[in-house]
Amino acid sequence: MRWQRFLSVLKARDREFVRDRSALAWNIIFPLLIIIGFAYAFTGDSLDQYKVGVIHQSEENQISFYSTQYIHFIDIDEAEATPAINKVKRHQLDMLLNVDQKRYWVNDSSPSGYMLEKVLAGSGGESYQKQQVQGEQVRYVDWLIPGVLGMNMMFSALFGVGYVVVRYRKNGVLKRLKATPLSALEFLSAQVVSRLWLIMAITSAVFVGCNLLIGFTMVGSYLNLFLVYALGAFSMISMGLIVAARVKSEEMAGGLLNMMSWPMMFLSGVWFSLEGLHPWVQKLALIFPLTHITEAARVIMLDGAGLVSILPNLAALLVMSIIFLLLGVLLFRWE
């Protein structure tokens, strides 16, 4: 690896991106528009729905409360009790029931929780013991922002590397570079590093811009959040390298990149929680880097989670990055 060659290719790629004003502007404006649009679209009370998490729900201990209409009951594993209580604090769950322990949690500032408490008391749940929690309501936009930032990174990473390298291959730029002493490792490293720092710079700008425009909840460590987004961006850039490795036509690259990005966009928990989905869909979502980015960023921003809590997500992103990177480099052909 010759650093001079790596740095010169890196510089040229950065120049190309920064001077492409329309692409640069779109990378910043697109996520801002989405966040602001959703912030306004989901403001108000029209989407209120009663949501009750239930731990240890079984046929034997059914009470008539469970057959109440217009309440969405969500099965919750006992190991997930603490995050579920956090959701009650943030008004994301209106009530949490532990059937074995005959206890329930409601937020003392939640009108929905109050209503559900009355319904529970009148429908076989008189013996349940109340556990009161406190916490401010988390707006949908607060919940949305960590995922939208990740989604924007995903598009920038996949298309910024996958599509661009395929275009280089098609128009002969790669062939010309192959004729020089530049190695594939030097070329690919420059593409990865260039895209990584540009994504982080743009994500930071969008983060600050959104905060100034609409304000949002950020409880945790900025350093931890930076780590999650940097590793997440790296994993998705590496994913883009797999497409960049061999594909010769931009149309084919576009199709493959859409095939990768669309399932991630809808099944990574960016727009809605995965909790209500079929268990196998929830399992499937774990193979997407965006799921881990969204989960980790969300718990940092909303719950102030530390590194230990997000370690499984970081480990998953690291493993994915290594696999994608190895595949991308091994499969790479200049022509």
Binding site: R5, V173, K175, T180
Partner: protein, 300 residues
């Protein structure tokens, strides 16, 4: 003169197509070698194997007695048939980019002067004209002060001024005793620039030598051209019935007569009362040789 490139028994096949089939030749240091051939003759595949862009199926290529290795990449300058440069990058930045990829480089100011890039140095490469673009690509091929330069159809699509300008640049390179391997469709270009030419067809070499040697080996005649007129054909037919010293080829608006004895042929034409007002006499060219060797039928 020592040989800088030795090519032995090169073979390259794409599916059922034998693109290059047992090609061997040597390139002497400081020589300009022209590779000619009709479309699909295998010249670009051959050159791309020489450039180490494609790997031969069989055969060897040696640069200064060693296989094509990093030393070759460092000292080879390459200008492909079609190359795009990165978008939004200026001419100067492109030159600097390529300069940093090599351990030894040409002096940038000299290169800019030699290739006459001064007027558009800070222009983005995407906005250049065809001629300017080819000069930039040539400058990039020269950026590492190469010992051997590969130029693959460098003047295709250029107007006559741009082509002649480009030839002047190649003459400058030749004066510096650089070795050049040139592929071209233009016979006048090969004649103007090349010390030796190789004509390929169907993946094989069908002729090899200096342009003059090849012409003198294949032809000992000249061509007399006459513009077609109403009575020319009938007069020529009467001439053909007798004993004549020429062979006649008919074109759309011209008739060409190949003869080794111009005086005798002109005398015969005058005796047949053929008007010589449109007569032109020319020597045989590489175009004639090319068509004679590769045929006149249109290739796919």
């Amino acid at each position: 003169m020592s040989s800088i490139l030795q090519v032995k028994q090169l073979h390259k096949q794409f599916d059922q197509l034998k693109a290059v089939n047992g090609v061997s030749f040597e390139v002497d240091e400081g020589m300009c070698l022209g590779l000619l051939g009709p479309n699909g003759a295998g010249k670009t595949t051959t050159v791309e194997m020489l450039e180490a862009i494609k790997t031969p199926d069989k055969g060897t290529i040696q640069y200064r007695g060693a296989p094509l290795n990093e030393a070759f990449r460092n000292k080879a300058g390459i200008m492909f048939q079609s190359t795009a440069l990165q978008d939004f990058i200026t001419v100067r930045e492109s030159l600097e980019l390529f300069q940093r990829l090599y351990p030894e480089v040409s002096e940038l100011g000299q290169l800019i002067e030699d290739c006459a890039l001064g007027d558009f140095l800070d222009q983005e490469t995407a906005s250049l004209s065809g001629g300017q673009r080819q000069r930039v690509l040539l400058a990039i091929a020269l950026v590492n002060d190469p010992d051997i330069i590969f130029l693959d159809e460098p003047t295709t699509g250029l107007d006559p001024q741009a082509r002649h300008n480009f030839w002047r640049l190649i003459h400058k390179i030749k004066q510096k005793k650089k070795t050049i391997v040139l592929t071209t469709h233009y016979m006048d270009e090969a004649y103007e620039l090349c010390d030796k030419i190789i004509i390929m067809d169907h993946g094989e070499i069908i002729a090899e030598g200096s342009p003059r040697d090849l012409l003198s080996k294949h032809f000992n005649d000249v061509v007399i051209k006459l513009q077609k007129s109403d009575d020319l054909e009938s007069k020529l037919m009467s001439l053909e019935d007798g004993q004549i010293t020429m062979s006649i080829t008919r074109h759309e608006s011209w008739i060409e007569m190949q003869t080794s004895d111009v005086n005798q042929t002109v005398k015969q034409l005058m005796e047949a009362e053929i008007s010589l007002s449109t007569m032109q006499i020319r020597e045989r060219t590489l175009d004639d040789l090319f068509l004679e060797l590769t045929g006149k039928e249109l290739r796919a």
